[in-house]
Symmetry: C2
Amino acid sequence: MRRCVLLGRLRFVTTIVAVDCMGGDFGPSVTVPACLEVLNRHEWLRVLLVGHQDVLGHVVHPRAEVVHAEEVVAMDDPVEVAMRHKKRSSMRVAIEQVKEGRAQVALSAGNTGALMAIARYVLKMLDGIERPAIAYPLPNVKGGATTVLDLGANVDCTERHLLQFAVLGSALDMALKSRDKPTVGLLNVGSEAIKGSDTIKRAAELLREAGERSLIHYYGNVEGNDIFKGTTDIVVCDGFVGNVTLKATEGLASMISSLLKQEFSRNALTKLAGLAAMPVLNAFKAKVDHRRHNGAALLGLRGLVFKSHGSADQMAFEHALSKAADAAQNQLMQKIESRVQQAALLF
Amino acid sequence: MRRCVLLGRLRFVTTIVAVDCMGGDFGPSVTVPACLEVLNRHEWLRVLLVGHQDVLGHVVHPRAEVVHAEEVVAMDDPVEVAMRHKKRSSMRVAIEQVKEGRAQVALSAGNTGALMAIARYVLKMLDGIERPAIAYPLPNVKGGATTVLDLGANVDCTERHLLQFAVLGSALDMALKSRDKPTVGLLNVGSEAIKGSDTIKRAAELLREAGERSLIHYYGNVEGNDIFKGTTDIVVCDGFVGNVTLKATEGLASMISSLLKQEFSRNALTKLAGLAAMPVLNAFKAKVDHRRHNGAALLGLRGLVFKSHGSADQMAFEHALSKAADAAQNQLMQKIESRVQQAALLF
């Protein structure tokens, strides 16, 4: 099934992405044009457009193919509805393409809980990994992004889970950022009185040992602000802390943006100032634009699944698709398997 | 000891604040001018300047008095050094002023771990409260501030601790914001798959019950972004999550500010744009200036202690001092005692 494309001196293996075209707040009106745009950018990409034939039947592209799925998981569907009553959902059918070897990676902007549950059920966990993790890049002041995991798949984590996240995150960074030795930080608190819970203390021990055996490149404890400083390439934490942190920083960013707008639209003079500052503010906005980082990886499964933000617009969905395709192209699954195998003695 | 001052038609009881003048990154060079400034603003305020006589002896103000303390807790002193080997530190002597009834509240910009440990040792916990909490206001888009606690005193919390934080936070908001019925949110995660750990689920039950008995005004679950939306007046969480969230949002804010600066200083044209936008950007900066919110309350003790940010400049320290004084003036301690007593049946 994998074919090669020669582009100049570089040789690319064809990568096939199964896209859940019905998921997300906007469904096919966003996902289909995004797929066509990214297809035109990469000769080595093929896309399976998963969704209802009636909706997707008109899409024509030499490297796109419609895979029919009659049901859709709604953004507010409880997990059990998505799992038990919608066995022919576009989300599930997209993941099945990976399971059955027809695609190397699946992408969906649908409801996270359902996606995680279905992915886990259909693909199963990798040997040695107990829990899947959601890994997401947050922009840092160095101009890059810090990979944070877990961002919400697990509320209670043991030290072994945190070590597994460190190994999974390292493989992801090696595949997506071409980093040879991505550094790992353990998210902890700063106040002397309480340096971490018992789990965190044991996790620090385990990560240090993994570092000494060169299974990961362990930096040590980091604090919340280190995420945005880019102190380490990867930050590991449990899903509760990760999710709250992600949401809080999204909340702060949106507060700052709305206060800035408010100040610039106060009166004629401030509006004029806003006009003068517009190009600079736009350049700034582009730098912190979270759409550029869209695409979270669901790690720890026997197959690759990526998750786009539910409210992604076309540009954001394109980024998620490119990232999912890059991950497969750069053999993320093989990298994960080999690193998990090496580190298994510590799990 | 308490005297009354008549200002117009309002009658103020004299409030005495014991200020650790040696604490913080800048010590007396910041704390002393801040004390004098705030003293001049409030006729009803008296300040005990706690620190070395040689350093503070020159300070003259009719409502200030130097209390000698020969030692200083350094910002990087381990808690046990501060506790056992510096029994005459300015931090400890300031707290002892509260214990002995010579002041209604103590304020320090010194090391948080040491302050918490000494405050707990000297003042003891209130009956019914198992753990002290650090409460800090984070600015919200409504133009006010959301009181978040705990921000780092406790890494592992039970549901009972979270209920106690809710009661303490409510008393704080009633004293400082003059809110009759401050609303309380429980910080939780949004993803359906995992809605909270067992502790969080039990805490939600307990808070709901307290709400039904009108002991607090319980809103329900909130997510990280609700802090900055100002969905509720108060947000309760364990100290690990609170501390990471606080640090992460500080990190993001500082990244945004440095990227904005970078963009505006890129070339002559962008610098000119920056000049035009300066008044607007300054107005914006003032709105999100964390110095305006400086001053965290250490709650749950048999006496009032406030903590200023260690790196506070004069303006920031003035805000913390005003807040500590206001809290005492508005009888925070009495409000806490009465609410804790009412709610004790659920602890």
